[in-house]
């Protein structure tokens, strides 16, 4: 019998140093216990509803629908959550779990800063210490979020190693965890890393599709024809897809960051350009060279700028249940501007990747078709960077 746990098809597993194994086992046991504990679930639901502002709206985007002239488009508004993104769903779950486990300190990686801000927020609320590791490059791209984390009482550690982006922040947080385990929980921000993280994070993010499924049935009396979400590690996407996976008629479409294009080296589209490998605790698809050296990926979006993808997405790709499409920087920036003008909603540049593909797909679909696009976060944090992309020299 195989000892390996947390597999999604051939993907997943627990490829981590022995030093962390007992901590991971402890986490798995605690999660298995608390996920069915009525008191834990009551507390978490209370936090989600009365602190984070759930359920989030399923907004019928009439103007966007009219402009694109095809499928009826609904937006799942995760940008309206407290802290401005879907990240809070997972963080409140993990922080509460860590607290129950007797941990006093949360550590986290962050790319765009959304997960770092959410973790710092939960730590402030639950009286826990918080240290966030962020690639030095990203601390520059997302200076405002660095300030927000500090304001919330967290320490932000700029990571200078490697490419100084998200993957290096993950590596550094893992290193930190191996050096201080007993009082510290690694609050991992995406559906990646070693088991049980991909499952825990998915379960906490599955609230997105649990709500949207009920909301669309209420609004339309039927399921959607397609669900779109952006994919870096893939947490908002798996949350958006999860409760539709058994519904074969619902197309699930993950939108990857193609950067300057999947035919260039400046891309982060893992499923489209990567190969199977083992990294950051999991077997999955990774952007890498022929010798397995992890590639220095690129995207305008700091949150999608990651060379791997969660193992459940890798599996959904393998079995053909979900599609993964590349979206370039230019397409995402156009969508960022388009949604702002048509609906008065400024999406995170990450979420704009999903909007961009919706702009391509919706016009090809009949008007009686329905599409749900997850707006995973709000775009205020990106305004200065997009302005610079367009040649305007503004700084926060």
């Amino acid at each position: 019998m195989s000892l390996s746990k947390g597999r999604f098809g051939i993907h997943g597993g627990q490829y981590i140093p022995e030093t962390l194994m007992n901590a991971i086992i402890e986490l798995e046991e605690a999660y298995e216990h608390y996920k069915n504990d009525p008191e834990f679930n009551r507390e978490l639901t209370d936090l989600l509803n009365n602190y984070a502002g759930r359920p989030s709206l399923l907004y019928r985007a009439d103007k966007l629908t009219r402009e694109l002239g095809g499928a009826k488009i609904y937006l799942k508004r995760e940008d309206l959550n407290h802290t401005g993104s879907h990240k809070i769903n997972n963080v409140l779950g993990q922080a509460l779990l860590a607290k129950k486990m007797g941990k006093k300190r949360l550590i986290a990686e962050t790319g765009a800063g959304q997960h770092g801000v959410a973790t710092a927020t939960a730590a402030a609320l639950l009286d826990m210490e918080c240290v966030v590791f962020m690639g030095e490059e990203d601390t520059k791209r997302q200076a405002l979020n660095v300030y927000r984390m500090k304001l919330l009482g967290a320490d932000v550690v700029p990571v200078k190693s490697g490419t100084a982006t998200l993957k290096d922040a993950v590596s550094e947080t893992m290193r930190e965890w191996t050096s201080r385990i007993s009082d510290t929980h690694y609050c991992l921000g995406s559906v990646m890393g070693p088991h049980p993280f991909p499952t825990i994070v998915r379960d906490f993010q599955a609230v997105i599709s649990r709500e949207s499924r009920a909301q669309i049935l209420e609004a339309e009396g039927r399921l959607p024809d397609a669900v779109l979400a952006c994919v870096g590690g893939g947490s908002n996407a798996i949350g958006s897809f999860y409760h539709y996976i058994p519904d074969e008629g619902v197309r699930l479409i993950g939108c990857e960051a193609a950067g300057r294009g999947i035919d260039t080296f400046e891309t982060a589209a893992t499923v489209n350009t990567g190969r199977i490998g083992i990294f950051h605790g999991m077997k999955s698809y990774f952007c890498q060279d022929e010798y397995g050296q992890i590639a220095p990926v690129y995207s305008i979006s700091a949150g999608l700028d990651y060379p791997g993808v969660g193992p459940e997405h890798a599996h959904l790709h393998d079995i053909g249940r979900a599609e993964y499409v590349p979206v370039t920087d230019e397409e995402a920036v156009n969508a960022f501007e388009f949604l702002s003008r048509t609906e008065g909603i400024i999406p995170a540049i990450e979420s704009a990747h999903a909007i961009a593909y919706a702009m391509k797909l919706a016009p090809t679909m009949d008007k009686d078709k329905i599409m749900i696009v997850t707006v995973s976060g709000r775009g205020d944090k990106d305004c200065a960077a997009i302005a610079r992309y367009r040649g305007e020299d503004i700084y926060e």
Binding site: P17, E18, S161, F279
Partner: protein
């Protein structure tokens, strides 16, 4: 079975770690020969990885220097094959799971066998995942080296019972790098290991001077030193070999007294 056991037949073992290709393979060849001539009992050869998550800053930097210099897994196999003509000390590779997986597990083990590398240390491959490589490793007579950490507790006996070659006892929490003090009760860990296996065990992580090496060798079958050697290579670059030789001699002399 590999030749690793012979490394523990000359009293307590001293095991240096050297990153292949840091700063280039010509230097690595000189450093390995200097280590062998000065009493290294087993040499850990690092195949650099872009994102070495178990390493501290010193070995991370060595990985970057080596990869920037253009070293690859294929070049390292050719290099080891050449080295093997005159260096008889047992070798093990130390790298990360993706380097082996990406090369093709069977192809990797076959080349280890062909070039005379007796074992592989993969810090990101815990007991539960070793089946990933164990079948092909055994087929080619390559030992997958098990690691035991200060946090292993109830896992020690399970790991020790199935260990091959030698057991790498991680002295401290955290990543590789020199430490002024090692607080883990190594003696207790080794006691449980001994109850479960006759496979020798050596202690690594944080050892930087002869006193620490001697102390760790008293508690186990040998001492492993990485970052302290990499620092010498970082300092002296292409001229590092005699300095590494001198350091290895002082460390081997110290463990021999244990």
């Amino acid at each position: 079975m590999s030749d690793i056991r012979t490394a523990f037949e000359n009293g307590k073992a001293f095991i240096p770690f050297i990153t292949c290709g840091d700063p280039d393979l010509e230097t690595t060849a000189k450093v390995v020969r200097a280590a062998a001539e000065n009493g290294a009992d087993l040499i850990e050869l690092g195949i650099p990885f872009s994102d070495p998550t178990a390493e501290g800053p010193v070995i991370q930097a060595a990985n970057i220097r080596a990869l920037s210099g253009g070293v690859t897994t294929d070049k390292i196999f050719e290099f080891v094959k050449e080295l093997r003509k005159d260096v008889k000390v047992p070798f093990v590779f130390m790298t990360y799971a993706n380097v082996v997986f990406s090369y093709g597990s069977e192809r990797f083990m076959a080349r280890c066998c062909e070039t005379g590398v007796g074992g592989i240390i993969l810090p990101d491959l815990p007991f539960e995942e070793k089946e990933e490589f164990l079948g092909v490793a055994k087929q080619y007579g390559i030992d997958l080296i098990s690691l035991i950490a200060p946090t292993s507790a109830d896992r020690i006996s399970m790991i020790a019972k199935e260990a091959d070659g030698f057991i790498y006892v991680v002295s401290s929490l955290g990543v590789t790098g020199t430490r002024s003090e090692i607080t883990t009760n190594i003696g207790d860990i080794v006691k449980v290991i001994r109850e479960n296996t006759s496979v020798p065990c050596a202690v690594g992580f944080g050892i930087s001077n002869p006193e620490q090496a001697k102390h760790m060798a008293e508690l186990s079958d040998g001492a492993i030193v990485g970052s302290a050697i990499i620092k010498i290579i970082e300092k002296y670059g292409k001229d590092a070999a005699p300095y590494v030789g001198e350091f290895v001699k002082s460390m081997k002399d110290a463990v021999a007294k244990a």
